[in-house]
Symmetry: C2
Subunit: 302 residues, 2 copies
Amino acid sequence: MNKKINKDLVKKFLINLQSNIVETIEMVDGKNFLNDAWQRKEGGGGNTCILENGNVFERAGVGFSNVIGTQLPKAATDVHPEVVNRKWEAMGVSLVFHPHNPFVPTVHMNVRFFIASKEGEKDIWWFGGGMDLTPYYPFLEDVTHFHQTLKDTIDPYGKELYKKLKNNCDDYFFLDHRNEPRGVGGVFYDDFNERDFNHSFELTKSIGQSLLNAYLPIVQKRKDVNFNDYQKQFQLFRRSRYVEFNLLQDRGTLFGIQSKGRVESILMSMPPLVKWTYDFTPTKGSDEEKLYTNFLIKKNWV
Amino acid sequence: MNKKINKDLVKKFLINLQSNIVETIEMVDGKNFLNDAWQRKEGGGGNTCILENGNVFERAGVGFSNVIGTQLPKAATDVHPEVVNRKWEAMGVSLVFHPHNPFVPTVHMNVRFFIASKEGEKDIWWFGGGMDLTPYYPFLEDVTHFHQTLKDTIDPYGKELYKKLKNNCDDYFFLDHRNEPRGVGGVFYDDFNERDFNHSFELTKSIGQSLLNAYLPIVQKRKDVNFNDYQKQFQLFRRSRYVEFNLLQDRGTLFGIQSKGRVESILMSMPPLVKWTYDFTPTKGSDEEKLYTNFLIKKNWV
């Protein structure tokens, strides 16, 4: 197998992944995505696929981007001082699906490849990504299914790898100011450059390709569950935490904003409708309370 | 007059200002605020007054806080490296009113006093604050009234001061990533330590006390204007820019979050219901377009 870096292979994989996911979600939803190709003045471009007011999804975005630059923004060099003053190229697929039904969780996935180069020096590169689930009215079996799918996907790449990536995810998707996890986690990795290009790429491919298996069975099972207005309002309220995380903490979002990325494509992760309520406290013994006590906790789900 | 720092006077003024505003808004709205006193573990506390689902206001928050600490967070020391390693105390009143009716603009005001002290050295102190207006369907006469009130308030403190504070406000409340002002501005100042304590305090008092004169006539004139669902949806959409500014850029919000302030009190500025729509473009010649072309621009309103 190929052990040398092959950008074109990664790009081809990402573009295919995007269209596979888009086509499948269109079948599930019954409504088609809007396809919006864009160029970035500073170099590169992308293709944002977005579905709003669908039958199942209130907002679903799947974006591909391949951007290049000469100076990395602070959000990147803070974490990677070794790439200061290097030309860089980043490519990836990002998606966030916000369903109508509060019994269907929100899912986020991202897979990306990053290279920083300097003449006469070796390329610095890594893969990153992951996916995580943010439920409103969770079912334990759904959370278990999601994590089990990820574990099965990752196990071939290393005995303890799922556990490591699962813990990364718990650490990363944690709202410091709320002292609260964003959801029930999943897996997250960054700066992944293990063994060789091929090994790291294969892991990334497997994770990207597992999204539909990890998420769609939950959608199918819960999309027609009856819900009332109180449950809908609770979903809108919980979405405010999603917004807070993305705008206050998410490195990808802040990287995009700081590197003068295309705003509409970066912020397609925002929920369609969001509610802030002062100091909401769930009723004792309610399903809303169970979200906090039984799910928004650090736990091994498989 | 008193030229020496008098913290107690400032505190008394702020507490009175909060109750005056709360009482007046209660009369206008017909619904009472919830009064929520809180303590901060690291020192100090505050009193958050919040009204949700009122008759005129969808969400209105008026907060007083007086907090102390030993280490300033990054959001403060980035701008003020001279206060690193000083004990600090901050007190202020902040308010944001989000009306139901999209013909009534959102208003924000903040007045604050800051002292950083170190044994054997002189106190470093300043006042800061301002207010700004964020309309959805603006009337030129309302914007003029708002700015004229501020100009009349500030003129006694210096011939060119309104202009300076107005420009500060334009610079500050500007969404870099959208290349768009948050609204039609107002006045904004920080690090204000001119002449002596008394002069700086008087300016701050005048600005704080001008809020009701600057804003209430607009509320009274527009609160009963008929509006349709499209206009309401546009207001919800525009509120997303408010959220983006506050979570991505606002120094007060980031200072609060980074200094482990009380989250619910800091984020009472968030709108109650917010909508993100992909790449919204207003129809040619529409009122929505006029917001962008005639109001979200740099302009002298008086």
